[in-house]
C-alpha cells in the first residue's frame, strides 16, 4: 500500500512474461534459433512466408510448454488450438502471428513468492500459451531504409500471464525472479536477459485502499531486467497516483519505460490499438497433447526449486536461507549436489557453508559465475573430506582451495601431501615435539607452573610454529595439559 497525502492507494499488478524456449529449431519450421547469427541466415521459406508454405508444430516446444504447466501445477489442455493474430508489420512476414487464444496449452497454476518478512505469497497464473516471435526491424543502419532481420521470426515463446495478484513493485520483481528461476531450472529457457530470452510486460493500475474494483490499467512494454521492472513499476504507480490525486483520470494505454530518463511515457492509446481478429489457424488442426507425452514430461520433471529447498532443509539440515540461495541457482545447486555426492562421508552442511563462504568469495573476487567454477565439484569434495576428517584445519583448507583454484587438476590430497599440510596425527611424534618445546623453554614452564596460565597459549604457538600449523589443536591441548600439569 502506498501512502500519499491523506488517501491510501493500493497498486494492482499483473505480468506477462515472454519466455523464449530453448528448442533446437523454430516453432513451425526447421530453422535454427541460435542468437547472433548473420542477419537472415536462419530463415526458411516458411519464415519468409513464401506463398504455399505451411507450419508444422515443433514437438519439443509442446513438451517444454507442458513441462512448464506441470511445474506450476496448471491444467494442460489436451486439445490445444493455435490462432492467427492479424496485424501488419514488416518484421511479421505472414501478416499474422501464430499464437493461441482459446484453449491455450496451459491454463491456471500458480507460483509461490517469498516476501521480505519471510512469508510466502501465492501468485495465480491465468495461462501460458505458445506463440512465435517476430523478426527484428533495424532503423539505424541505412538512412533511407529500414532493415529487417528474420532470424528471430518464428522462435518459440511461451507467454506466461499472471493474475493481477501483485501489490507492489517488489512483489512483481520477486515473481519475475521466481518464474526466471523456474524456467531456467526446467531447462526450457537459456535465461539470457541481454539476448531477450526473458522479457516482461507489466499491467499496472492503482485503486483506493480497500476498494474491490480495479482501476484503469496501463501496460508497460518490454522491460528486460529485474532492476528495470522494479523501477518502471514504481514510477508508473507514482505517476498514476499523481494523476488521480490531481483529479485526473488514467487513460488505458501502452507505455514505454525509458531507462535513461527513468520515466514511463505513452506509446499508443487503446483507441489506436489493433483489432487483431484472432481466429483458429486452419493450417494447424487442434494439437492433441497425448497422455504419453504428459506422463513422460512428468517423469522427467526435474526437482523444482521449492522441493529442493525442502529437501536441503529437512533432510540435509541446511538453514533455509542457505538452502534458498543454493536451490534457486541451477548451477550452484548442481555443484552443491555433485560435491556432496562425491564426498567420502557426505556432510551437506559443511559443503553448503564452504560453497556459500570461501568458494563464493573467490568467485566474486574473480567475477565468475557458478558455471565457470575453476574447481570441479569432485575436487572440492576431496578438500571438504580433508576438512571433515580433521586432516587439515578450516584455515589450512582455505589455503589449499586457493592453490586448487589456480592449478587445475591438482587434488587437495596432492597439495596437502606435497606441502606437508596434514595435521599431525602421530601422537608419538607430537609428544616428542611437545617435550622438546618444554625442554627448550624451562623458564616459561616454571612460570606457568607457578600460576601464569596465560603462558599455555605460548606453548601452543611454539608447537604450531614447529609443525607449521599441522598439529591437531585438541590433541595438542590434551598433551600440553598432561605434561605441564604433572
Amino acid at each position: 500500500m502506498t501512502a500519499s497525502g491523506k488517501q491510501q492507494w493500493e497498486a494492482v499488478i499483473g505480468l506477462e512474461i515472454h519466455v523464449q524456449l530453448k528448442t533446437d529449431s523454430k516453432l513451425f519450421s526447421g530453422s535454427a534459433t541460435a542468437y547472433g547469427a548473420e542477419p537472415n541466415s536462419q530463415v526458411s521459406w516458411l519464415d519468409a512466408a513464401l506463398p504455399g508454405t505451411l507450419p508444422v508444430v515443433n514437438e519439443q516446444a509442446i513438451r517444454y510448454a507442458v513441462r512448464f504447466g506441470l511445474a506450476v501445477d496448471a491444467r494442460i489442455n489436451r486439445e490445444t488450438v493455435f490462432a492467427r493474430k492479424n496485424y501488419f508489420y514488416p518484421d511479421l512476414p505472414k501478416g499474422y502471428q501464430i499464437s493461441q487464444m482459446d484453449r491455450p496449452i496451459v491454463e491456471g497454476g500458480h507460483i509461490m513468492i517469498s516476501l521480505p518478512d519471510g512469508s510466502q505469497k501465492r501468485i495465480g497464473l491465468t495461462r501460458a500459451h505458445l506463440e512465435e516471435d517476430a523478426g527484428k526491424s533495424i532503423h539505424d543502419i541505412y538512412p533511407q531504409y529500414s532493415a529487417i532481420d528474420l532470424n528471430r521470426a518464428g522462435t518459440p515463446l511461451i507467454e506466461v500471464v499472471s493474475e493481477p495478484d501483485m501489490r507492489s513493485a517488489a512483489e512483481a520483481v520477486a515473481y519475475m525472479r521466481q518464474v526466471y528461476t523456474l524456467v531456467t531450472h526446467l531447462g526450457i529457457c537459456d535465461g539470457n536477459l541481454q539476448e531477450g530470452s526473458f522479457r516482461c510486460d507489466a499491467n499496472v493500475s492503482v485503486r483506493p485502499a480497500g476498494s474491490q474494483t480495479l482501476g484503469t490499467r496501463t501496460e508497460l512494454k518490454n522491460i528486460n531486467s529485474f532492476r528495470f521492472v522494479e523501477r518502471a513499476i514504481k514510477h508508473e504507480i507514482a505517476r498514476q497516483i499523481r494523476v488521480l490525486e490531481a483529479g485526473g483520470r488514467i487513460v488505458q494505454e501502452t507505455r514505454l519505460y525509458d531507462a535513461d530518463k527513468d520515466e514511463t511515457r505513452a506509446m499508443r492509446s487503446k483507441e489506436a490499438a489493433n483489432d487483431y481478429r484472432y481466429f483458429p489457424d486452419p493450417d494447424l488442426l487442434p494439437v492433441h497433447v497425448s497422455a504419453a507425452l504428459i506422463d513422460a514430461e512428468k517423469a522427467q520433471l526435474p526437482e523444482l526449486p521449492q522441493e529442493k529447498i525442502n529437501r536441503y532443509t529437512q533432510s540435509w539440515g541446511l538453514k533455509s536461507a542457505e538452502a534458498r540461495i543454493l536451490a534457486e541457482d541451477a548451477a550452484a545447486s548442481a555443484v552443491f549436489e555433485s560435491c556432496v555426492a562425491a564426498m567420502q562421508h557426505p556432510q551437506p552442511v559443511l559443503a553448503a557453508r564452504w560453497l556459500l563462504g570461501e568458494v563464493s568469495a573467490l568467485l566474486n573476487r574473480d567475477g565468475l559465475d557458478w558455471p565457470a567454477l575453476p574447481v570441479a565439484p569432485v575436487r572440492l569434495a576431496g578438500l571438504l573430506d580433508a576438512v571433515a576428517s580433521d586432516t587439515i584445519s578450516h584455515k589450512t583448507g582455505k589455503t589449499v582451495l586457493e592453490k586448487m583454484w589456480d592449478h587445475a587438476d591438482v587434488t587437495a590430497a596432492e597439495i596437502i601431501e606435497r606441502e606437508g599440510l596434514a595435521q599431525m596425527s602421530d601422537s608419538q611424534a607430537l609428544a616428542e615435539l611437545v617435550d622438546k618445546v618444554l625442554a627448550d623453554n624451562p623458564k616459561q614452564v616454571a612460570d606457568y607452573r607457578s600460576g601464569n596460565d596465560k603462558l599455555f597459549n605460548f606453548f601452543v604457538g611454539q608447537v604450531m610454529k614447529a609443525t607449521r600449523g599441522t598439529a591437531h589443536p585438541a590433541e595438542l591441548k590434551t598433551l600440553l595439559e598432561d605434561k605441564l600439569n604433572t
Partner: protein
C-alpha cells in the same frame, strides 16, 4: 486425328513402353497442340525448352531402362496456384506476376517423381477466387466449346486445355467447386479428393480449411492414375491425412450392383431443363448397371453459400496478408512511408474480386462481428457436415448436378452474388470436406453438362469406380469441341 492420349493413359503408356512413340514426340505434339489453342488464353506461363527437355530425357531414360511407371513421360500442365521451382507462379495475380518459387509444391514434386513432364502453368481466377476465370490478371480463359463463353473457374485454364484435347492431364484446386464446376462446363472429368488427402504444401492458399488439390483428365481411369501418384500423407502439411498412398485404379471395375445412389430432387428442381435431363439419363444408366436410386434431402445445404462466403474470405484475409510488398511480389513505386507501401502495393497488386473478399473476410473477423458471422458460419458448416453424414447412412454416394446451368457468356454475371450462385451445388461438399467428382453427362444446346458424384470421406475409389463404369457405357468424355463445330 485425335491425340495419342485420347484413348487414355494406359494405352498411351503402352505405346511409350513399346517404343511406338518417344517421350520427345509425345511432348512435342502436346506443346504444339497447346500453341494452336493460344486463343483460349488458357496458359499463363510455358515451361522453357531446356526444362522440358531435361524432364523428357529423364522420362525416356526410365522407359529405356524399364523403370518407368504408367505416368512416365506423360505431359501435363499445373494450375498456376502450385509452386513450381524455377517456373513463374503467379496465381493469376499482378501481385505475383514476377514471382519464381524456389521450391516445388508437394503435388508437383510427386508428379515429377512419377515421371510426368510439366509443360506450363494454367490460367485461373486470381488467387482461385471466382467461378468463371474472368478475375485473372492475365485475362479470361475461353471455353473451347464456345469461345464467347466462360470455362468456369477457378481452374478454368486446366479444364479448357484438357477439354480442347491438347494435354492429357491438368492439376487443379477446389475450394468451393473450382475443379468440379469448370470440369462440368468444359466437359471433362475432374475430381477433388477428401480434404487432407492431397498435400497443400506449396499450393498458394486461398481458404486453408477448404483448399484441396485435384486433377482433370478426359476419363475417370486417367484421374485415378494421377490421383494415386499425388495423394498420401505429407509431413509438411499438418492438415494432411495420416494415411499413405492409395491405388485408386484397383476398384475401377467393381460392379455397381446394389450400389445405393442418393438423388436430390430439390437440387434438380433448381437446374435448367437440359441439365436436369442429362442427370436423369445418368441416373437411368446407373440403374441399368445395377444401382438403386433413393431420393434424399440435405436441408441445411441451402445455407452453404452464405456460410462459405464468410469462412473462405475470413481465411483469405489472413492468408493474403503476406502479400505486402516487403519481401517479394508487387511493390508500388516510391512509397512515402510504410502505410503508403502497404496500401498502394496491395491496391495495385490485387484485383477487384480479391479485394472484395479480403474486405469481407476482415470485416467478418472484426471485434464485435466474429460471433455473429465467423462463429455462426462454423456452426452452419458443422450442420451441413452432419446432414451429409446422415444421408450417407442410407446411401453410398450422391448423384447431383454440378451447376444449375451450362457455361454462361463472358461478362454475363457481372454481379458478384449471381456469380457466387454458380457454386451452389459444389460448395456443400467442400464445407463438409467430402470428395466430389464431376463427369461429362451429355450436352445441352451444344454445351457440356456435368454430373457430380459426392461420397463420404475417403470414398474417392468408389466415385472413380462409378464414373469409370458410366464411361464404359457413354462417350461424352471422348468428344472434342472441334468435332462438334
Amino acid at each position: 486425328m485425335t491425340a495419342p492420349w485420347h484413348q487414355g493413359l494406359k494405352t498411351l503408356s503402352g505405346q511409350l513402353r513399346r517404343g511406338e512413340l518417344s517421350v520427345a514426340e509425345l511432348v512435342a505434339e502436346s506443346r504444339q497442340a497447346v500453341q494452336k489453342v493460344a486463343h483460349l488464353n488458357a496458359l499463363i506461363s510455358r515451361a522453357d525448352d531446356e526444362a522440358v527437355e531435361h524432364q523428357v530425357n529423364l522420362a525416356q531414360q526410365a522407359l529405356d531402362k524399364g523403370t518407368a511407371g504408367v505416368l512416365t513421360g506423360v505431359p501435363l500442365v499445373h494450375k498456376d496456384i502450385f509452386s513450381t521451382r524455377g517456373l513463374r507462379t503467379t496465381c493469376a495475380s499482378r501481385m505475383l506476376a514476377d514471382y519464381v518459387p524456389p521450391f516445388d509444391a508437394t503435388v508437383v514434386a510427386r508428379l515429377k517423381t512419377a515421371g510426368m513432364v510439366t509443360l506450363g502453368k494454367a490460367n485461373m481466377d486470381e488467387f482461385a477466387m471466382g467461378s468463371s476465370n474472368e478475375s485473372s490478371y492475365f485475362g479470361p480463359v475461353k471455353n473451347p466449346w464456345d469461345n464467347q463463353r466462360v470455362p468456369g473457374g477457378s481452374s478454368g485454364g486446366s479444364a479448357a486445355l484438357v477439354a480442347a484435347g491438347v494435354v492429357p492431364v491438368a492439376t487443379g484446386s477446389d475450394t468451393g467447386g473450382s475443379i468440379r464446376q469448370p470440369a462440368a462446363l468444359c466437359g471433362v472429368t475432374g475430381i477433388k479428393p477428401t480434404y487432407g488427402r492431397a498435400s497443400r504444401y506449396g499450393m498458394i492458399a486461398f481458404a486453408s480449411s477448404l483448399d484441396q488439390a485435384g486433377v482433370f483428365a478426359r476419363q475417370a481411369e486417367d484421374c485415378a492414375l494421377v490421383l494415386s501418384a499425388m495423394c498420401g500423407h505429407d509431413p509438411l502439411d499438418s492438415t494432411s491425412d495420416a494415411s499413405g498412398p492409395v491405388d485408386y485404379s484397383a476398384a475401377l471395375n467393381d460392379s455397381l450392383t446394389g450400389l445405393r445412389v442418393g438423388i436430390l430432387p430439390q437440387w434438380l428442381a433448381n437446374t435448367e431443363a437440359g441439365v436436369a435431363a442429362a442427370l436423369e439419363a445418368v441416373q437411368q444408366q446407373l440403374q441399368k448397371l445395377g444401382a438403386e436410386i433413393q431420393e434424399v434431402t440435405l436441408p441445411t445445404a441451402d445455407l452453404a453459400i452464405a456460410a462459405y462466403y464468410i469462412l473462405a474470405p475470413a481465411e483469405a484475409s489472413a492468408n493474403l496478408a503476406r502479400f505486402d510488398g516487403v519481401r517479394y511480389g508487387h511493390r508500388c513505386q516510391q512509397p512515402e512511408n510504410l502505410d503508403d507501401l502497404y496500401c498502394r502495393s496491395r491496391s495495385e497488386g490485387f484485383g477487384e474480386e480479391v479485394k472484395r473478399r479480403i474486405l469481407v473476410g476482415t470485416w467478418a473477423l472484426s471485434a464485435g462481428y466474429y460471433q455473429a458471422y465467423y462463429h455462426r458460419a462454423q456452426q452452419v458448416r458443422r450442420l451441413i457436415a452432419e446432414d451429409f453424414a446422415r444421408v450417407f447412412q442410407s446411401v453410398d454416394l450422391l448423384l447431383a448436378p454440378v451447376t444449375p446451368e451450362t457455361a454462361f457468356r463472358l461478362g454475363e454475371k457481372a454481379d458478384p452474388v449471381s456469380l457466387y450462385q454458380a457454386d451452389v451445388f459444389t460448395i456443400p461438399a467442400s464445407l463438409a470436406g467430402l470428395p466430389g467428382l464431376s463427369m461429362p453427362a451429355g450436352f445441352s444446346q451444344g454445351l457440356p453438362v456435368g454430373a457430380q458424384l459426392i461420397g463420404p470421406h475417403f470414398s474417392e475409389a468408389r466415385l472413380l469406380n462409378v464414373a469409370h463404369q458410366f464411361q464404359q457405357h457413354s462417350d461424352y468424355h471422348q468428344q472434342l469441341p472441334e468435332a462438334r463445330q
